[in-house]
Symmetry: D2
């Protein structure tokens, strides 16, 4: 259990690292699911002050009361959702901007916001890949904001905390990527995996991960009472996984699936160990690796994470099964996150917390 002091920190009432100076925050792309979750979390963040909401999603012309955009947030924000206009973003009104905008919109907006001295967490894929030449293949557009791309820090907090703290632009990881990387990084960095044998990651995601724009594939009766694989060998979160884990494409097989749930990702990851390991050793490796991570829960009791373990939270839960308890060579790592929490908005706020010097888990635990 958290000590009383840690508990107070996570509730946001005190902060040992530095006095809590409020931060003025804007959200661009407020009308989507990640945008809505950002607002919900910011509304209970003790140090964040919501300064501006914008969206190009509705008619794009006039302000909308927040309850038209997110019925559940009626009365929660005190602000209407404005049309998205770059001019509205200024250091006189805000310190910090979350971009929950489409990839190309983010690629355009971020450099302009940085130039004005604002700090940015971008939830799109626009700044995740170091190699700008990968964008046409994976995202379908040419990237022109090379300096921002170079400056961007990949915001998987648990791996990059030091860089994130100093960053001006954080590329918030993809939901599938978060789920996969957290489950594999300790094993790969320790060299325990027989990479030549290949790694299989079978991921299952709730439908909110596909965004809020209506389309045939996400129409209720098409998703309900269904489950389907999609984008085999071609999902756009693959390159950021390869980049973060320093893997070759041919060694990593990733298949996303759509689940008839709203929130959550469950990844079942199959690896072959280079040497037989006891399951306890694996648990210890992960517990050590994530010793300082407040929002990763490593299961040491043989249980496996489920989507319900983490839905509506910012936790990443990781558990294990092996072909035998001692001397395992076939290992299954199961990780679960909420795609809108640790997979998007929650992680974005976790990054903001670090960037602003707040406790990592403020408003999240």
């Amino acid at each position: 259990m958290a000590t009383a002091i840690e508990s107070d920190i996570s509730k946001g009432t005190t902060n040992k690292r530095q006095p809590a100076k409020p931060v003025r925050v804007a959200v661009a792309g407020a009308s989507g699911y990640a945008g809505g979750e950002l607002l919900r979390l910011l509304a209970r963040h003790p140090f964040a002050r919501l300064a501006h909401l914008a969206s190009s999603g509705r008619d794009g012309k006039s302000a909308s009361p927040i309850e038209r955009v997110h019925p559940a947030l009626r009365g929660q924000t005190g602000l209407d959702c404005q049309p998205l206009r770059l001019d509205d973003f200024s250091p006189s009104r805000m310190d910090f901007v979350f971009l929950a905008t489409p990839h190309e919109t983010s690629a355009e907006l971020a450099p302009a916001l940085l130039a004005r001295g604002l700090r940015v967490v971008d939830l799109s894929g626009a700044f995740r890949l170091k190699d700008s030449e990968a964008y046409p293949r994976w995202y379908g557009f040419e990237h022109h904001a090379i300096p921002s791309l170079e400056q961007a820090v990949y915001g998987l907090t648990e791996l990059n905390a030091d860089e994130v703290q100093k960053a001006r632009l954080v590329a918030n990881p993809g939901c599938y990527a978060t789920s996969s990387i957290l489950a594999l990084a300790p094993l790969l960095r320790a060299g325990w995996i027989d990479v030549a044998a290949g790694i299989v990651c079978d991921s299952k995601s709730g439908a909110s991960g596909a965004g809020r724009s209506p389309n045939q594939k996400l129409h209720f009766p098409e998703v309900n009472e269904n489950c389907r694989a999609y984008s085999p060998f071609g999902h756009r979160h693959v390159p950021e996984i390869l980049q973060a884990l320093e893997l070759e494409e041919k060694k990593f097989t990733f298949t996303p699936h759509l689940l008839p749930v709203t929130r959550g990702i469950l990844s079942t990851i199959y690896v072959r160990l280079a040497l037989p390991r006891a399951l306890d050793e694996v648990v210890s490796l992960f517990k050590d690796f994530y010793a300082r991570a407040q929002l990763v829960r490593v299961y040491g009791d043989g249980a496996l994470p489920e989507i319900q373990s983490v839905a509506h939270t910012n936790y990443a839960d990781i558990g294990f099964a092996a072909d035998r308890a001692e001397g395992a060579t076939r290992l299954i790592v199961v990780s679960a996150i909420d795609n809108l929490g640790k997979g998007a908005a929650g992680q974005a706020i976790q990054n903001m917390n670090l960037m602003c010097g707040y406790a990592e888990e403020t408003a999240l635990a």
Copy 2:
């Protein structure tokens, strides 16, 4: 239980009423949910031969393999889905047309098809209201096919079997209307309801009732883990209910709700009885009323129908609860149908069966 002979009839192997002459059938609007259900049912109809499929729903330009339109029907129809062109409908190729098209499209197509000598069951609302002047208010368009409107038979099979048999154009009832009318007709025709006290019908429908076109309100995460009332005092199935039951608008309060299920309608209907009645009397009234209806199941054991009682069937199930077993004055009638079965495609085929002289329940029970 059905006798062996009845059972054979319902399985379609024999037909006592008349020798089963095959019917060649076309479906316009094949790409929607009602269209797909029609195809599924027709594929196992012993006397129907599918002659033509058409849809304006996809690109509208080229034929689509059926599995692109309805993945579950892969290999089932032997026909591609063609663009919707009036010229393709001709008595040389077919005898019968199902229109599962938008209201205005049906209003245009039906007269032309009738003129060519084809018989038509229209699943839209285009021919349900006898009063053509009601169309602008309830359906948002001016009705110009007055002769067809006058000729159309309202195809609630259980109430209008004789007329349906002779009809050339049947207006297949709305799903909510079917659910409401079947539950109220016996009581109203017997004069048992205190109509002055008002009737409340609280209906709950699965999302397939709203059609297959993507829109924000039917996006998976908006429907899932949700339930909402909509169109209070204004749903377009109200006028056909009033017409069929000869009720004044102010005496009938109807509220539809959207359920996070794909198929099914449950209507909970609240009436006040003019005189106290034993629950047994109510059951008898309904059993007598529906004595010849093969596809209405009246519950006499105190159970209440559920959506699962009827999903994926063509049954309309009706049950009762009262404020006391003897001398009830407050009565609740609960009816359940599958909105795509008895509420749409199944009922359309039931109508076709009557029109073609087949047993009513052929391919449906």
Copy 3:
């Protein structure tokens, strides 16, 4: 929008009414859904300190790590769940007890806890009905704790705030009752309803409202893709609704329905107005009535609450539809709550907040 100060209150960082003295809290019945939600909320309550968890639900013999009981709470409570033993509840360890226990267990435990000087919020029905003789009919047991029953305050916070503040035993209202009473109290107290015409309340609830014990009716495939009415004219929340609203049983028809969702209640309530009223008047009546209620949201824009408007919150949302905007006589009131939030655990904490002098909405908004 809340002012900055109100916002800080609701986030729990300050409290203008009185300095926030921590409260030590125990939860009996921690293994059920309401118990789990209490723990989740208490974990982020700035002034509550969890002192003891107990449950008779598991083997009843040994302590269980919390993650065995509620996988999502892994690492959240710092306490194991103990077997339920009266001896463990003592003022030396705690100030306050939540009973999320079965009705009869609560009826036995509460007097003993009160006798030890502990304050109690009971989430069962054991202390909701003033008339002890009603218990055999509605709850199936004879009530023997008459003094506690007399002392108990019905904890519908919005109606009874003053009494709740001083109470030592609060009977937390039923979920359906909360949903119904909040939607009807303003109209009934104003005398606007034609009560003689009868009131119909058609309520729809998520399955968590039926508790966590496995049974056939709540087995996943029986609830999924289904909706059913149950307990017509006989649900045990009816008597507390009649008591709170001072209605006769024959004037109030209540039908609960089971929805295939986990959380939430939507009530569609049909009333006849004694005199025609403009919809705006109705909105004003409710806004005035709930002017000081932080957790009731009255909709004045014609929208209707949905389950998603309130799921995972403690809000009660209320909206309206009428047969005409001016001079309405048929009025529909739609209310939505989360059955585990405002309908159970959230409301219990709201009551605790008042009893302890904290801002009503602490840890809830």
Copy 4:
């Protein structure tokens, strides 16, 4: 498309292979989900006559009207569900028995039924494993019906049609096993898989696969909005898969998952090819292998089967994805079945059809 004659066969109106002699059928274990699905299918089987229904599931003492057992089957069977008594099974009343009973019950009943001259399809696991010594490990009981075990034919129709036709006892395959074996048999028998590299089968199943007995893990709120892996390296369908595919346990990694849907299994299977193959070659291999199988649909258009492709049908659908179209070495095979259809009751009837000389797909397509 099926020709007209094939179509008639599948509708059951004629049978070219032999004149259709009716079969009298009993179902033991009628109260479970597989039992209910058997009844639903038998009710529309043109040659089956339901002779007896029995279940030990309810009170086990008196007959139950079928609607108490399966609400959807009200009026469908003409028979009550009787307590399960061996004496009721006799060749004077029936020819054929489906056992949808627990494993141990089946192990006891089958030999007795065979001794009476009845033919049996057993849907449990009692006769699937050739090695009687495997039962204690995988099923938790000692198998004593060795002669029946030796006599039993593994009823995966597509692989064993000839043996099934002559069998007196058919062991109907497990749902996961059906899904896995059909997807792998063509590749393994052709020797195309690099077995040494290991095969990973990640399967996702609807909750009806876990049976109808209530338990905590299948309680609605525990399954809804959730997905979880279970029984890693230990599911009891593994040994029948290994047996049918002649694989070593260490070469086959199988992880079942529970989906929040009622029906359907989706298996995503990862194999490494021994030699690079074009995707077209793979499709051809499967099309040839299943050329005579009426109920397997091989996808040659790049689409992948979904649960909705097969729910409420008896089809097994199989599709493919590869790391490249030409020269693929990493291949994903996706298979989908309805766990109650092809995975249980449908396949049982498919076996009965063969055993009785009816067209394989009678009542199923």
